[in-house]
């Protein structure tokens, strides 16, 4: 079992004829993901690595039965692409695009929450269910099948932690990157219940960072979970008022400090190691 995606997932790539879209379509296909369609307006009838291209997401969904969309279109067009995916009725839209204006995402996220579609991202690396399906840009060679659910705000730090788990023989059910934007489609509190409900997930690793209060909100939910959670917070030493790369990674107005997050998580029994290298051991202890 896994969350959100598995080997039966049928994926449509929005922006498939672009440089990024094309590159990652090949990577996803190589991993074994069923990429069944691509969308680029005006290019229907073409194929990319054997994947048929359609003019609209609605056409692609109608013709191929795709249920997951992954979006590789520039920031200017990405909000519209998210809405188009929701209109076509996919279960999950994964927006990889970085640099979308915040107010655009305020509109998009609030709208999509009222539809049947779940939005992951924007500015996220996507997700991967080892040996079954990868949607987005996470490297496939760092994961292995196993009992740990991973949910994270950052990309490369997640690769770092997941590859360490894998090296130490601890596999994963699904790794979900929710992204570093201030208004994400999925927050920790949206993803944690999926792992709680997944019978194969025995332990969850939650990788947070400074900025916002998503980790604090998650702590409240974790106190009701039956499964153990290990936390990690990146940016403990970052100064207030400085945006650390991600638009969402900023301590401002006394909010979003690492200390507040560590305290909130510790208060509900979640260990938050100082160094990421301690994570595999903490997971192993809880796997028993």
């Amino acid at each position: 079992m896994s969350v959100l995606i598995d080997k039966s997932s049928r994926v449509v790539v929005q922006g498939i004829t672009g440089r990024e879209g094309g590159f990652h379509t090949r990577q996803m296909l190589a991993y074994g993901t069923q990429v069944v369609a691509g969308v680029t307006p005006g290019k229907s009838g073409q194929t990319v690595d054997g994947v048929p291209v359609f003019d609209t997401v609605a056409d692609a969904v109608r013709s191929t039965g795709a249920t997951i969309s992954v979006i590789f279109v520039p920031p200017k067009f990405a909000p519209d692409a998210c809405l188009e995916a929701a209109d076509a009725g996919v279960d999950l839209a994964v927006c990889i695009t970085e640099g979308i204006p915040i107010n655009d995402m305020v509109s998009v996220v609030n709208y999509i929450r009222k539809t049947k579609t779940r939005l992951l991202g924007a500015n996220c690396p996507g997700l991967i269910t080892p040996e079954e399906c990868k949607v987005g840009i996470m490297p496939g060679n760092i994961v292995m099948k196993g009992p740990v659910g991973v949910v994270a705000r950052s990309g490369t730090l997640t690769y770092e932690i997941v590859s360490r788990l894998t090296r130490e023989g601890i596999g994963q059910t699904t790794c979900v990157g929710i992204g570093g934007d201030p208004v994400p489609g999925q927050r920790f509190i949206d993803v944690l219940p999926l792992f709680e409900a997944d019978p194969d997930t025995k332990v969850v690793v939650m990788i947070g960072e400074i900025g916002g209060t998503d980790e604090e909100d998650a702590a409240e939910y974790i106190s009701t979970m039956t499964k153990p959670v290990i936390g990690f917070i990146s940016g403990r030493t970052a100064p207030p008022g400085k945006r650390m790369g991600h638009a969402g990674a900023i301590v401002s107005g006394g909010k979003g400090t690492a200390q507040a997050k560590v305290e909130a998580l510790s208060a509900v029994g979640v260990p938050v190691p100082v160094s990421s290298r301690e994570i595999p051991e903490l997971v192993r202890e809880r796997l028993g």
């Binding site: 996220v109 770092e160 960072e209 400074i210 940016g235 650390m244 638009a247």
Partner: protein, 377 residues
């Protein structure tokens, strides 16, 4: 991106937000001329990107053009929290009867924009929020329908403003919200919002922060970006398209991905070092970007060592290694450099680096420990 008060007032004025009449001066003589033209009592305000200007003596009243020239002479060139005052705003002083707070910003937890109104204006609103949150009336704005007039009434009544403020508040706040949305702001704040003795509302101060992701929609705002950085190296890094934040320590840090770089800063600190900077080369960086990054980090004279932490995904280890060697050839490097490369093409990258004097490391913890001890010499 932050802009100066006078720039914020110019922009807000265009949207119909009432602002005092005034102009910018760079010399005391200009300040005098503006005061003469206004023909009334003025306030002379330093234009620097820090809070607490009033407390630092950077805001003064002047009753006559002579006085305006004299106070401008004192404020221009003044140092406020490390920044030199190069411009002053000279504007008509208003007859203050009440000082309120008005702000619109993103509420991340609610994922909506938030209107905040308080009768306790003029002071640090973060302090009010922390100690007496009940004094701030808040309403969340549904992006689909926008800010509704009834919500403005809720906020204004909720905050307990003087009844005379009510008639002007609707138009004032709608104008501010329109500016906030049209200009893609992440903050638009009027503090203080002044109720004058005549019963009108006017923005005695104005603060706007733009969402940098939306600047592509606002080419006209590019003029404000010039000179808005507080730090020269940060300004240079941004000109080269690098995500760089100066942190004041001794270990230069370069990595790919914001989370990984933040994690590396934490590890360096734990190893007993102090990070000089945050620098994220982003995904898929080519050799040239890496060389550029190294050059920017070494602009900081405090840097005693540099740590590269690269987890290859889209970013390729061999590209990074080539960038590091090119960069170190181009520059006369006197500090130790530790490189931790893993992921895509890391083997090839390590082979390129083997022929150099760069110090390799297996893990980020090992890399942090190595650079901290090497930098100590």
């Amino acid at each position: 991106m932050k802009i100066h008060e006078y720039q914020a007032k110019q922009l807000l004025g265009r949207y119909g937000v009432p602002v005092p009449e005034g102009e910018v001066a760079v010399t005391p003589q200009e300040a005098r001329a503006i005061a003469e033209k206004l023909g009334r009592r003025v306030v002379v305000k330093s234009q620097v990107h820090v809070g607490g200007r009033g407390k630092a003596g950077g805001i003064k009243l002047a009753s006559t053009p002579d006085e305006a020239e004299a106070v401008a002479g004192k404020i221009l060139g003044m140092d406020i929290k490390g920044l030199t005052v190069e411009k002053v705003l000279v504007e008509a002083a208003c007859n203050i009867e009440q000082e309120y707070y008005l702000g619109i910003t993103l509420d991340r937890a609610a994922q909506k924009n938030l209107l905040m109104v308080s009768a306790a204006g003029g002071v640090d609103i973060e302090e009010v929020a922390a100690s007496t949150p009940e004094k701030i009336a808040r309403v969340l704005i549904d992006p689909a329908v926008g800010l509704c007039d009834f919500q403005i009434r809720q906020a204004v009544f909720g905050a307990g403003l003087d009844p005379r403020a009510l008639s002007g508040a609707g138009k004032f706040i709608q104008a501010l919200y329109k500016a906030y949305i049209d200009l893609d702001c992440s903050l638009a704040e009027i503090n203080p919002l002044v109720l004058t003795a005549e019963g009108t509302l006017i923005a005695a101060d104005g603060k706007i922060t733009f969402d940098e992701n939306a600047l592509f929609r606002h080419p006209e705002l590019a003029q404000y970006a010039e000179g808005s950085e507080e730090d020269e190296i940060e300004a240079e890094a941004h000109r080269r398209g690098l995500q760089y934040v100066r942190l004041g320590g001794e270990i230069g840090i370069i990595g790919n991905g914001a989370g990984l770089v933040m994690g590396t800063l934490d590890e360096v600190k734990d190893a007993g070092g102090t990070p000089a900077n945050f620098l994220d080369i982003g995904g898929g960086a080519k050799a040239e970007v890496v060389a550029n990054a190294l050059e920017v980090v070494l602009l900081d004279p405090n840097v005693k060592g540099v740590l590269f932490n690269i987890f290859g995904g889209i970013t390729r280890g061999d590209e990074v290694a080539r960038g590091i060697t090119e960069g170190s050839k181009r520059l006369d490097i006197k500090v130790p450099i530790v490189v931790r490369l893993t992921g895509t093409n890391a083997e090839e990258g390590r082979a390129i680096l083997a022929a150099t004097s760069l110090v390799p490391a297996e893990t980020m913890q090992e890399a942090a420990a190595k650079i901290v001890s090497l930098a100590r010499g």
